[in-house]
Amino acid sequence: MNESLGNLAIQEGRYLYAIINSGAEFCFGDIGVNDNKVYTISHEDIAAVVHSCKAEAYKTNDNDRAKEWILAHNYVIDYSSKQFGTVLPFAFDCIIRGSDETIKNWLIRNYEKLAKELEKVENKAEYSVQFFCDPEKLREMVTNSDLELKELKEKMDQSSKGAAYLIKRQFELKMKDAVSVELSMLANDLCSKIREHVDILKVDKNTSILDKYKGMKQIAAFSCLVHNDKIENLGEALDVINKLDGFAVRFTGPWAPFSFVEMKDE
């Protein structure tokens, strides 16, 4: 092969959106990141949703542009899910160096793993559940149930100013510990309340918190893979918790199963 042609071939790439449960050759139109034409590359009964691009990552310092890209990436995944049922989503900015042929070979190499993952998520979707608690309520509960805290509080009220200050420090230290234990117990409680309604439950460690919930303490966040038939039951279970005094639940979805694709490709 001539050297310049070789370089050209290397510079070509395919941006990946999702793997779908259909072998259809399909063109989605110019809906991709940067208005690129999105289409499928299939092997047997599965296909990759891609657009053709240069083999380099999309990067920008322009936030509006970045937002558009993220929305476009999401839009293609949502659109694919609507057309073909639950898909295996890719993270933003996954680009394979090569041509349609390269993608096809990748699909062939990973066919069994992909088919297995698709089967795992069939008729299911990802939902995100975040539990919050009012911090004042939390302190109140802990003070009422912890005898040591109760005694410290009484002592504090009866002491002179100087002594009260020292006791207060002791009280706050103990309170911090007690609140942290209470939070993990609550997280366990809440987890056991929803576990039966979900197919797979994962603790989410890095879920962002919306401004709306800033004043509250997050107890725990979970990603849940839920079968379509069970989603109402989960909603009902969450409703009970949401109505508890001092508690709030944020329940979002359906999302493509981002947290549940576990395969490693070859």
């Binding site: 790439g13 295996l88 933003f92 394979i96 234990v181 993990s184 962002s208």
Partner: protein, 191 residues
């Protein structure tokens, strides 16, 4: 309660920047875990705040790890096991501790072995040999308007209150271990 799909940027970023199919590094151009566009965006979204309560997160993180890798504690070798002792199951949980004026739930990892049940958190918080375990009972307690099950473990010197999230499962596991333990004794007696 119905799930909401607000498509806030925060929700989208949480998923699209570090989740999804992971590609082998030699075919991929930008590694999914470090997308350049994501870093700029996250930095720009000053309103995003991730969980900051590390005290709780450590405990919770521990529970997750135990949950998925039950043999983790065993493998890292920090847990002082006796000779011939093997861990059946480990899970994050609590023990009610009541000494003098201190009454509290002590968190740790419960380890059920072929010889003992013990709660470990950098040190031994509680241990009991299986042949000293008496009756196991599940009791309902009301806490914050929510019912919480607690496991009561009776033994010669009293009773313990135990809490784990899968309480019924834990009770069955202990009962299973007790049966196996008894059988072991029978076999030895017969020899």
């Amino acid at each position: 309660m119905k799930p909401q799909r607000e498509n806030t940027l925060v929700d989208l970023l949480d998923r699209m920047l570090n989740k999804g199919i992971i590609l082998n590094a030699d075919v991929i151009i930008s590694v999914a875990g470090v997308p350049l566009v994501g870093i700029t965006l996250k930095a720009a979204l000053a309103s995003i705040e991730t969980m900051l309560d590390y005290g709780m997160m450590e405990a919770w993180d521990e529970s997750t790890r135990e949950w998925y890798k039950n043999d983790l504690a065993n493998r890292n070798g920090r847990i002082p096991l006796m000779e011939g002792e093997a861990i059946f199951r480990s899970m994050f949980g609590f023990l009610w501790s009541s000494h003098g004026i201190i009454h509290e739930w002590r968190p740790g990892t419960w380890h059920l072995t072929n010889k003992r049940l013990f709660l470990w958190r950098e040190e031994m918080l509680f241990e009991i040999a299986l042949d000293r375990v008496g009756e196991l009972k599940v009791m309902k307690e009301t806490h914050l308007n929510m019912e919480r099950n607690v496991l009561i473990l009776e033994h010669m010197d009293g009773a313990e209150r135990i809490y784990v999230s899968d309480l019924m499962g834990f009770k069955e596991l202990i009962e299973d271990a007790l049966v196996k333990n008894n059988r072991g004794i029978e076999v030895r007696n017969a020899q």
